[in-house]
Symmetry: C2
Subunit: 400 residues, 2 copies
């Protein structure tokens, strides 16, 4: 029997999927689960998106251009220009989700054995994409005490060596919800230019910025034309996760040329969803305003509830729809499993993601969980009630 | 300025895209182009496919399961069982096109530096997928003289060494149209079992078999449970290229487990198109019969026309909708470019794919082109008329 590959063995399983059998067990026991474990929002898909697909009147569902429909890219570029970002349609490759944009970016910019520095905790699937590209992830730890702020230049420089080729950030951040300040971004810019690195920014949550200062794309940082590689997606901003439409955006023509060869090999991204996404570019501002204020009130509810629980530390996240929370517990994997397997309050429980899966450094995140506030406020307050009681009853509770 | 990756440089460009600027030039000159260069059929998408998508009545376009909708996989597995292939829904991972199935298969089964043997000429994008996986493609040449039949076991064994991990076939074949016989498949089976290799079969054209003997999947070969990795796609069988729905199918549980980790990293294949593809599983047999007889008559038209042209060699392909044809010309890249740049007959010309891009061995295919018979018979006969006259006028014509 032939053996599977080393990367197939080394590929880490999803940190959330591990809990699925226990969730199935809870459902079998008749316990209702509040799913705060995944970033699947309950928000309606942006107006126009599904309608445009339903109105498709072709007889043949054909390939699109490998870089995506030109009409879509042109309109998309226009939206960038309206944000004072000077990209044109040739600087955009439409990808199958943000995931494919990261894979194409890594495949195009990095050689096997190269290193990328990523502030941890980070989106766990970066590990998988790095595994596919043969790239080594070097974590730089951020800390809950200062709201998971970006580490100093000095800390980054300790990790930079001749194999370092890129820094990867996610802004606003999944899993922490941290929104980087302009100062932090300019500091990263200086670092990247000084060491001739690429800066990848996963900006798929850019519409979810809750501070007075709007989200700033790294594409708008001066002098970064050859260095900035941006990942976008319609999954969260239009609540269209199942569409699998993302984009790789860069003014670096060599990177675009290399990424285009990978894009051509896989022929095209899905055609109909590009039609939907193009329509959603015309969604009214009121849709985004409503979504934003809904998330702000959800965040406020969750953060207030968490901060009232004894022994719990929760920074006030400035963006996205996640927070990483420190709990008075011995082991987050065990706690999340226990919540599904052994706990219920009024026949209800909460599913969360243990934070261990978001750290590359062994042993970190053991008393932290990621909470995604993607449910309505009624459900969120029920979920917080459950969590508060669970923390009182959990046998592995620590004193704090 | 940071440099791009070696694989980005080494990644071959698409053999067809090179001609795009010349095609644009022909259009600018007012010359109509018959596109026999790509596998985008003009056939209507299978009944039910687009309709099911149009009837989607959800408010939120959500992720599907990373392996694809369970309902779709269960019904899909049933169709396999009806063909006497004993796979169940856990042996199927729905992918984003057949392309992603090949990438997941290579990533899961092969280590960087491993070798795969592929009969050439072969689908050019296998080069790209191998490049992404860091795998070395070792070509084994097939010949137009015997209809691109599979080479003998002895020829394969000359190429097998300790780095060889898999053989990749495409059946029916793109680009040659060759349909492998049962004997050829059993011979491959014996070889694969003897050397403990994986056998990848790209069976995306399986519905396009024009011989009396139906297409045989490698999943039905005895004793191959741990070795057979099959790639499927809805692109051709339902004429839904833009849907980007494919599948990796194998009874090897370790491969499925590894591939699932890659599948989870990219979250899910497109949701709506799975709904369409599931509906198309109920398309009436008459749709497939009509499509098959349409392609048989197209093939007959094209092959008859080609065989009448002096100096042209064209085998009678048993499947798919391609043929590789030998022409009395000096250089197929130059000829195909000349057809677009300098030739027209009644303001018409033909775009074909130079066969050089389908060979990994340098220098092969220089007097061959791939023709895709994906247009209606009227257009195909006009295109053949053009080609016959072009061959008379082409300055690089060789005596034959």
């Amino acid at each position: 029997m032939p053996t599977i590959s080393q990367r197939g063995i080394a590929m880490p399983p999803s940190p959330i999927r591990k809990l699925v059998p226990f969730a199935e067990g809870a459902t079998a026991r008749g316990v209702k689960i509040y799913h705060l474990n995944i970033g699947q929002p309950d928000i309606d898909t942006a107006p126009g998106f599904i309608e445009a697909i339903q109105q498709f009147d072709g007889k043949v569902l054909e390939y699109s251009h490998s870089a995506g429909l030109e009409s879509y890219r042109r309109k998309y570029a226009q939206r960038f220009q309206e944000r004072n970002i000077g990209v044109d349609h040739n600087d955009i490759i439409i990808t199958t989700g943000g995931s494919e944009a990261i894979i194409f970016g890594m495949m195009s910019c990095l050689n096997p054995g190269d290193e990328v520095i990523i502030p941890e905790p980070f989106y766990a699937n970066y590990n998988g994409f790095a595994q596919m590209a043969g790239v080594k992830v070097v974590p730089i730890t951020t800390h809950i005490e200062n709201g998971f702020a970006l580490p100093s230049v000095k800390e980054f420089e300790k990790l930079i060596n001749e194999r370092t080729k890129a820094i990867v950030i996610c802004n606003p951040n999944n899993p922490t919800g941290t929104l980087y300040t302009d100062d932090e971004l300019m500091q990263l810019r200086d670092l990247v230019l000084a060491h001739d690195l690429y800066l990848f920014a996963d900006e798929v949550y850019r519409m979810f910025s809750y501070s007075d200062q709007p989200h700033r794309s790294i594409l708008s940082l001066p002098g970064m034309e050859q260095h900035a590689i941006v990942v976008e997606s319609v999954s969260k901003i239009y609540s269209a996760c199942g569409a699998r439409i993302g984009a790789l955006v860069t003014e670096n023509k060599e990177v675009i040329a290399a990424a285009m060869k990978f894009a051509q090999a896989r022929l095209s991204p899905p055609t109909l969803e590009q039609v939907g996404a193009m329509a959603a570019l015309d969604a009214p501002q009121s849709y985004f305003d409503d979504v934003r204020s809904e998330y702000i009130s959800r965040r406020d509810l969750v953060v207030a509830a968490l901060q009232q629980m004894p022994g719990v530390t929760c920074p006030n996240p400035g963006g996205a729809f996640y927070c990483v929370v420190q709990l008075p517990i011995d082991d987050s994997d065990h706690f999340c499993q226990w919540m599904l397997e052994s706990f219920s309050y009024e026949q209800q429980t909460v599913m969360m993601a243990p934070a261990t899966g978001f750290y590359a450094s062994a042993g970190l995140g053991k008393n932290q969980v990621r909470i995604a506030y993607v449910l309505n406020k009624h459900d969120l307050s029920k979920a917080m009630e459950c969590l508060a009681i669970a923390l009182q009853q959990y046998p592995g509770r620590t004193h704090s």
